[in-house]
Symmetry: C2
Subunit: 427 residues, 2 copies
């Protein structure tokens, strides 16, 4: 029987064990066996390897319910670090996290605007240097850099399907350029997907590992986490609820479809409507024409949101109209995935969330199809501004701690392409 004698634990066991230790804080080997379902022999070998690599520490003993006390394990948090970068038209957010995903340094800089991609990449490399040096972290302990942005991103072609203000980034070889400029391994992904992962790793979601992050920054999207793993779909575009139809006869969106959530509810549509109302435009300070550089959509949306908070009725009406459409899209997402938790996140919801939260809650309480079987908990993120960057750093930790060339099997719900098991047959 060929091959049946091998007993080296699979690399995916290592990833699963590391994640269980991270999520638990401290845990015994028996606790890991219970949490993963792996055999004791596998856990024993995997944990020994993690201790040898300096990633995990033994940290004392817990009282046992009988028999000898159990050794507790925890992550050696400062053993490794990762850089997370969230790139948006409206701003660049940087974080440096330790092995547990905890933020040890952060900074924000001006967005990419109309700047040329190579100039932005050069600036990012300098800003990453400043971040790491400022934190006093040895660069040899930095595993790599995760960059997240709107739309799906691929190593080969960088961004795809970018919204109009970022069209000049499409097909720019971002992965290679960033790798060359920083000297670090680079991981690229979608911002909304990263936001969901960031919400989970930042510790603000403690009670479940299956939920969606409803994300609004310059555009609208969502990220899906299933059992703590990001669900990407076939091309990294899962969860794009900015481009589902909430009104079959609605206006045309930049994506070419009709009645999309984004064209009806997105920050750009709110800003356009506010500009069309001279009194509101004045009250909200939307006077971009007189400035040399017109503010970003996200910045102008924030101005409208501040006017609403000051009690401007026209501003309130615009946000509430946007919220009603976003709520309908949220209900569609929750219905299709049958979710129990939705987290509102992203820079625009960090500013206007108090208007959107009650509208989304009311829609789900009133009309979610399975409301008779369970409620849906809707929360405002506590880390809306940094969640995508934290998620970006997390993706580095996940990728670099268990490199693909060590044989990591892509987790079931992450598989981008999906060979039929039959193909493995007949060997």
């Amino acid at each position: 029987m060929n091959g049946a004698g091998r007993s080296i634990p699979h690399a995916s066991s290592r990833a699963a064990v590391l994640d269980v230790i991270r999520a638990a804080g401290t845990i015994s080997r028996v606790g890991i066996i219970e949490a993963t379902g792996f055999t004791g022999a596998t856990i024993s070998t995997v944990v020994r390897g993690l201790i040898d690599d300096g990633l995990v520490l033994e940290t004392g003993r817990a009282e046992s319910t009988g028999g000898k006390p159990r050794v507790l394990l925890q992550l050696n948090r400062p053993a490794r670090f990762a850089v997370g970068v969230h790139l948006d038209h409206s701003g660049l957010t940087y974080v440096l996290t330790d092995l547990s995903g905890a933020v040890v340094a952060r900074m924000t800089r001006a967005g990419v605007g109309a700047e040329d991609p190579p100039l932005v990449v050069g600036r990012m490399a300098r800003e990453v240097d400043a971040l790491v040096d400022g934190a006093g972290v040895d660069r040899s302990r930095v595993l790599g850099l995760g960059l997240v942005a709107p739309g799906p991103l691929t190593a080969a072609s960088g961004m795809r399907l970018t919204p109009p203000p970022m069209r000049h980034w499409e097909d720019y070889p971002l992965d290679r350029a960033l790798r060359e400029a920083t000297g670090m391994p680079v991981v690229l992904d979608n911002d909304a997907t990263a936001a969901a992962l960031g919400e989970y790793w930042s510790g603000s979601i403690q009670d479940t590992s299956t939920f969606a992050a409803l994300y609004m920054c310059t555009g609208i999207g969502s990220g899906l986490l299933v059992n703590g793993l990001t669900y990407h779909g076939a091309s990294g575009n899962a969860g794009e609820i900015g481009h589902i139809c909430v009104d079959a006869d609605g206006p045309e969106c930049w994506c070419g479809a009709r009645g999309c959530t984004e064209v009806l509810a997105g920050p750009a549509s709110v800003v356009a409507a506010a500009r069309a109302d001279p009194a509101l435009a004045r009250s909200a300070g939307l006077t971009g024409e007189r400035k040399r550089v017109r503010p970003t959509v996200a910045a102008e949306f924030a101005s409208v949101a501040r006017a609403a908070r000051r009690g401007d009725p026209a501003a309130r009406a615009l946000l509430e109209r946007s919220a009603r459409y976003l709520a309908v899209a949220a209900r569609t997402l929750v219905t299709i995935m049958d979710l129990e938790l939705l987290v509102l996140t992203g820079a625009s919801l960090a500013i206007a969330g108090s208007t959107y939260l009650p509208v989304v809650r009311a829609e789900l309480d009133r009309a979610f199809f399975a409301r008779g079987t369970h409620a849906v908990d809707v929360r405002l993120s506590k880390s809306a501004a940094t969640a995508p960057a934290i998620g970006a750093a997390t993706m580095v930790l996940q990728t670099e701690l268990v490199p693909l060339n060590q044989g990591l099997r892509v987790p079931a719900n992450l598989a981008a392409s999906d060979p039929h098991p039959a193909r493995a047959g007949g060997a």
Copy 2:
């Protein structure tokens, strides 16, 4: 180190190995190692157990690329059987499948209509007896009975969230009643979810194990398969696209929400519109008032579909309007899950699929958000009428071959409730 000496392979390994052998047809142990990522030692133990239990056979040797020829394994198909029952207002479909999910006997009977649940259960028990006896299968080899119906079903309460014509089934203890009437273990699940699994196991989907089944029978729903496993969501309601909003200002649905796919596109709405047009009602033969028992919605929808096929322009217009809304819902589903394959199935699409297929295809070609990264393949099912029943039988095979009390860990994307790993900590 407590517990680390255990080396009994986990029950989930057994389920995974069985499924790889089933999907492959014939496969070597090395092939299974490559397909599952388990260690050779685990595969060796699991396969030995499957052979000892009579579920798997050694079936000859394959040429190797060098070294000795490899022993091939295959399912012992007639070793076990399962009954699948699809219960709908419009009809009852029964199948008996072998261990591979292949149908060895099938029959259809009148739907449940307004009959009392206990009477229907008594009838089902007699019909199951006739199915098994007629096939000449020894009852000791029948693992159990899977029953699928609209809405989520739970062992404790039977059906929940039933559509109006089946309200009298809500909270009827279907699980217990069927178990007592048939003497078989019983598994309950949603019909659209079962349809997706049935499409996969019936062998009509060979090229991927991640796709959605868009299901239309009396109502509209969808089932999601991710890597060959059904995605249920928190309460078994995942994929309920009959109750997502495709028109925020649309009419109210029986579920209480506004602008649902089902109220705009479902068979009941098509039939109501056809009845409102006297010429079409006559042409389609919708003369239920004169009959003693009014035909079911699905039967009347089939009459309208036949009128459309005969070239009746009013019937065609009604189906095309329905198809346009269904296509928008399909696009939402495909966008959120980022799918590459959608299968149109269920009795109503078996009849009217040739009208719906081009409309759904055109909508996805024209407006699917990620159409620049990949196409979406839309197909008409080849087993639309039996897919839910085959899926029901499959659920028995999956459950009974690896009973929960042997320690099966619910696969990641099946977990109904999802304890945070932290809870396992500190042991």
